[in-house]
């Protein structure tokens, strides 16, 4: 039996600032000042108010305050989709960096989507347009849009992370996908490898485009043609394990086999290795493998997996400082691209091609 049916605020039973004021014997505005701007109030009354607030367990209503001051001190982080993929935990890791930097800067983080369905998209836009947040961090995905509204229309600073959106005039923090893969491929070539299998992400995907371009560039630099590489996979990264399994079957069926695998995620590499082992091949004796992401688990694979390590935490931090900068100085400044380089971590999965007299 609720007896507060006439209170619009419903069941939020907590004490109000008015209650604190009454208990402390001061005006409501004094309470406000004491709480948000101590120093502009007599120390003695301040203490009394503080005490009253504690005693009542008072918490200011964030909505009311936000409505009044138009500052939420919150930043919304837009995720690319569900967090669960496989061994590659780029997004969770980058979130770590983001969180640390945000908290350090006095901002709060809000995640309002774990998928990119219509409902979630709408929620994100509502928060952005509704004044609940002061900035947006988009993770490895496109700008949220629904019902003809687009986040880019909101008068909010936006920063993109892991995905280059500078073409849309959104400052972006990315890694050197292309260069890193080119370097790794070049290294394989130097080890004597001449035939490659590339485990791809979805066609057209930013990362896949960049990484594949890296492979081709390295081949080109070495005077090799595109036919030196076989493309496998090509579906969503979240099916990484499946891609690896299928690519392994493909490998097994080939008459002339590649001697080196370039996987675009650790998941792909891990499941590929597993199936190839089961079929009796030896790594790195029969084939070498390099992948992308640098998951913690690479160290515990069989054999330990060479992988291109993305400096995820740092990328997160950089993105946050870029965003905070924009929040404090919204006046234009052309969009910026920050590149944080990834580096190949060499482990046992990498070796000179069998029977080659590689360069050492």
């Amino acid at each position: 039996m609720k007896n507060n049916k006439d209170l619009p605020a419903g069941d939020h039973a907590g004490p109000l600032m008015a209650d604190v004021a009454r208990l402390a014997g001061v005006a409501i505005s004094t309470v406000s000042r004491a709480l948000t701007n101590p120093g502009r109030v007599n120390e003695k009354t301040r203490a009394r108010i503080q005490g009253a607030a504690m005693q009542l367990g008072y918490t200011p209503n964030a909505l009311a305050r936000g409505l009044r001051v138009g500052k939420s001190n919150s930043v919304i982080v837009v995720l690319p989709g569900p967090l669960y993929y496989g061994a590659s935990q780029i997004i969770p890791q980058v979130l770590s960096g983001i969180n640390a930097a945000l908290v350090e800067g006095g901002y709060h983080l809000i995640i309002a989507n774990l998928d990119r369905g219509e409902q979630s998209e709408r929620h994100v836009l509502d928060l952005a347009f509704g004044g609940s947040v002061q900035g947006v961090l988009i993770l490895s995905s496109a700008v949220p849009e629904v019902d003809g509204r687009s986040l880019s229309q909101a008068a909010l600073p936006i920063v993109s992370l892991l995905h280059d959106l500078t073409a849309l005039d959104i400052p972006s923090v990315v890694t050197n996908d292309r260069e890193a893969v080119r370097g790794a491929t070049a290294e394989l070539i130097a080890l004597g490898h001449r035939r490659f299998q590339y485990l791809a992400g979805p066609p057209g995907d930013y990362h896949d485009v960049e990484r594949y371009a890296g492979v081709l560039e390295a081949l080109h630099d070495a005077g090799l043609g595109e036919d030196a590489v076989l493309r496998s996979g090509g579906i969503d990264y979240r099916h990484g394990f499946r891609i690896g399994v299928e690519a392994a079957a493909e490998y097994h069926g080939l008459a002339t086999k590649p001697t080196a695998i370039i996987a675009t995620s650790d998941d792909m590499a891990i499941s590929f290795m597993s199936r190839v082992h089961q079929a009796g091949y030896k790594i790195p004796t029969d084939l070498s493998i390099v992948s992308f992401d640098g998951s913690a688990i690479c160290d515990y694979c069989w054999p330990p997996l060479s992988s291109i390590l993305q400096p995820v935490e740092e990328m997160g931090r950089r993105a946050v400082s870029l965003l905070i900068e924009r929040i404090n100085a919204p006046q234009c400044e052309h969009s910026e691209r920050i590149i944080v380089p990834s580096t190949l971590v060499r482990r046992d999965s990498l070796a000179p091609v069998a029977g080659s007299m590689a360069l050492f």
Copy 2:
């Protein structure tokens, strides 16, 4: 050069309901009705208003609305800490289930913490006490508390997930940690194993207490004593890989070796296997291993890892429906415990003890 320095609402430049009203030539209250309660307004005017809103790209201010109605349609999910651990992606997976169920029920999800530091804790409490959310889902951790405030004081429905908090009168959705481990241990015993090494989580941790109890119960049931099991590890689950590495070293140093390993997370099992392999032991010939979590990666381990699979998605869904139930009917109802059973997925890491004439 901003010229709106006198507007408290600051830079939130979006159109207001008043603008829509003006454009549509109606009163502001009519706009409100048309938008939130169509049917109570003439279809013709409704359409005109709708049009005006679209044309202006109007989005209602969530803060103002929330302040007025006290209903945010949002639920806050409290995370136990950073999302990044290792192969075990229980939390991300359970989030998936939560999200799906929440969206289905018309609720929004808000995550406001990626650690359990003071700042984040405060932010969570501010959101809860500040009326920004209508319910709380606590994931595998304790009730947020800071500055003498505790979330449990908020007049909000709370549900705990993965962690039994029924003792605090908080309805909880958990799995059968103890039973599941007891079953797995019993199975190892049936395979002839008599000496075990248990890779533990932090002492006192809910999961570790339950799982270890499961081991002991199984030993007891088989007439074996506590000395049949060696406890290793015992630090935070997020250091799972390290636990496995250290436990492997310990194993290697033992004169009489256990023949079966019971790991309380896949991470521990994976790194343990890796190091034990490097030392030349064969799994499951020399030793069997079972772990907990049922990560996707278990299928791609060497050998494929037997693990206790937690029905995470379902747990998430159950927790949400429990929570929504409470939101709709806040009147007491004693706290409930829902147990969703985990089951052992048997893979190659499990075999009869060497030289045993096990029961088949």
